[in-house]
C-alpha cells in the first residue's frame, strides 16, 4: 500500500517535472517535513498555553488597585499590539538574545541558554498574550454588575463570586475572540522562520532550495497543512463553545 503510494509520486515526478512530491517518497525529505510539522505544532501549543496564562494573569492585574501596575500592563499591551510581531521576534532574538548568558557544553562552543525556539516561544507568547489580556478583560466586564450584586447579596465572598460567577460567565463571552486570536497565533508561528526555528515553513524552504522541482508541491503542502491546522483549531474551539453554551441563552 505504502509502496504504491511512493511509487505513484515517484512516477509523477518523472512525468511532471514541476510536481515533484519528493517528501512523499524520499525518507530524508519526509523526515524534514515531519520534523517541521512537529515544531510548528509544538510552537503553537506552547505559545497557546503561555499566551492564555499571560492573558489570565494580565486581566487579573488590570483589575488591581495599584495604578502603576495597571499602567505597566497597559504599556505592555499597547507596545505588543502596535508593533509588528515579526520585528518583535527579531528584537527578542537578536537584540535581547545577545544579553543572555551563554554556556559551553564542550568547552569550545558558546551556546546561548535560550535557543531560537525559546525566543520564538517567548516572543510569540507575549505577542498573543497582549491580545488575550484584553479579550479576557472584555469578557469579565461583560458580566453585569447586577449579577455580581445578587451573588454578594446571597453572602458569597468576593473571591467566591469571582470564581463561581464572574469567571464562568466571562470566559464564555471571551471564547469567540480567543478563538480568533489563537488562530492568528498559529499563523504567526511561521514568522519564526526568520530566526531559523526549524518549523514547517523553514523545512519547506530548505526542501525547495535543494530541489526546485519540489517547490509547487511543498507550497501546496503548506497551504493544506495550515488551513488544516487552523481548521482543527476552529473546529475544536467551536465544539467547546457549543459544550459551554448555556441553554436558553442567546440564539
Amino acid at each position: 500500500m505504502l509502496d504504491l503510494f511512493t511509487e505513484f509520486f515517484r512516477e509523477m515526478a518523472e512525468n511532471h517535472p514541476r510536481w515533484n512530491f519528493i517528501f512523499f517518497y524520499q525518507g530524508v525529505q519526509a523526515e524534514k517535513i515531519w520534523l517541521g510539522l512537529k515544531y510548528t505544532i509544538f510552537l503553537s501549543v506552547t505559545c497557546l498555553f503561555f499566551s492564555v496564562v499571560i492573558g489570565v494573569v494580565g486581566a487579573w492585574l488590570q483589575g488591581s488597585n495599584m495604578r502603576l501596575l495597571r499602567s505597566f500592563v497597559q504599556g505592555y499591551i499597547q507596545l505588543f499590539r502596535n508593533t509588528p510581531p515579526f520585528v518583535q521576534l527579531l528584537f527578542f532574538y537578536f537584540a535581547l538574545g545577545q544579553l543572555t548568558p551563554t554556556y559551553s557544553p564542550d568547552g569550545w562552543l558558546e551556546v546561548p541558554i535560550i535557543s531560537s525556539v525559546g525566543w520564538a516561544i517567548i516572543s510569540l507568547s507575549f505577542f498573543a498574550g497582549a491580545f488575550n489580556i484584553e479579550i479576557f478583560r472584555a469578557g469579565i466586564e461583560a458580566v453585569p454588575d447586577t449579577t455580581i450584586e445578587a451573588s454578594e447579596a446571597l453572602g458569597l465572598t468576593r473571591l467566591q463570586t469571582y470564581i463561581y460567577v464572574v469567571l464562568p460567565l466571562g470566559f464564555r463571552v471571551s471564547l469567540p475572540a480567543l478563538n480568533n486570536n489563537l488562530v492568528n497565533l498559529i499563523k504567526t508561528t511561521t514568522q519564526a522562520f526568520a530566526i531559523s526555528v526549524p518549523e514547517l515553513l523553514y523545512q519547506s524552504v530548505r526542501i525547495w532550495n535543494d530541489y526546485p522541482s519540489a517547490q509547487y508541491p511543498a507550497m501546496l503542502l503548506l497551504f493544506v497543512v495550515y488551513v488544516g491546522l487552523v481548521g482543527i483549531m476552529v473546529f475544536g474551539m467551536n465544539r467547546w463553545e457549543q459544550k459551554l453554551r448555556i441553554p436558553g441563552y442567546g440564539n
Binding site: P144, T146, T147, E149, A150, S151, E152, A153, L154, G155, L156, T157, Q160, Y164, V165, P168, L169, R172, I246, P247, G248, Y249, G250
Partner: protein
Amino acid sequence: MTTSAPWTPDQPIVSLRDVYKSFGSLEVLKGINIDIMKGEVICIIGPSGSGKSTLIRCINALNDIQKGSIKVEGQEVHTDKLNKLELRKKIGMVFQQYNLFPHKTALQNVMMAPLLVLKEDKASTEKRARELLAKVRLADKEDAYPGELSGGQQQRVAIARSLAMQPDIMLFDEVTAALDPETVKEVLLTIKELAAEGMTCILVTHEMGFAREVADHIYFTDRGVIVEHGAPETFFDNAQDERTKLFLSQIL
C-alpha cells in the same frame, strides 16, 4: 453606637434612624425613619427616582449611607465592624432583573449559596432546594436554565434562591416591574404566601392593589423623604398630603 442589650422580638427587627444617603452631590435619602416589627409586611411606594430602591439596598449594605443608623436585629449595619456575611445570611433580597446565574440550572441556583456560604452538606441542601422549588410551584423546572424560563418563573426561582439561605427578612426590589402582565400574578401569589407564613417582608412596588392587599403598613416616599405613611386603608382612602394624593390619582 455601642452594642446594646441583645435584640428581642418585641423590638423592631429593622430600624432606620435619620438615614441620609447621597451619590456625589445628588442627595437621594434625606432623613428616613422606619421601624419594622418581626412578621410585618411593609410596602414602600412612590414616584421613580424617589430613592425607594436605594433605601432597601442600604438595609443589606449593598449601598452605604452618609449619616444616620440602620439596625437589623439590633445590629448596626453601617459600621466598619459589620460582618457582611452575617448580615446577608439574615436578609434575603430579590431583584427587579432576577439576576439568576445564567450558567446554573434552577436547582443549582438555589443550592449555590447554602453550599458555598453556609457550607451545608450537599444532600440536605438539595433536599431543601427541591422543597423550595416546589413551594414556588416550579418542581418540574429544577433542571432548566434561567434562559429557558419565563420572567415570572425566573423570579420565583430567585425567591427560592433567597429563601434557601433561611433569612429572617426578605427585601423585594420592584420584583414585578420587568415581568409580563400575565406572569406578575404568579410572583405576587408567591410573595403573598410568604407573607402569610409570617416572613418579614420589605417591598418596593408599583402594584398598588397588591400593596393594599398584603401590606401591614405603607410608606410613601418622594424626593428622598417619607411624605406619608399608614395602614393601607387609611393611606389609600384617606391620604392627607397633596403629593400623595397627586401620586395616587395618577397611578390608580
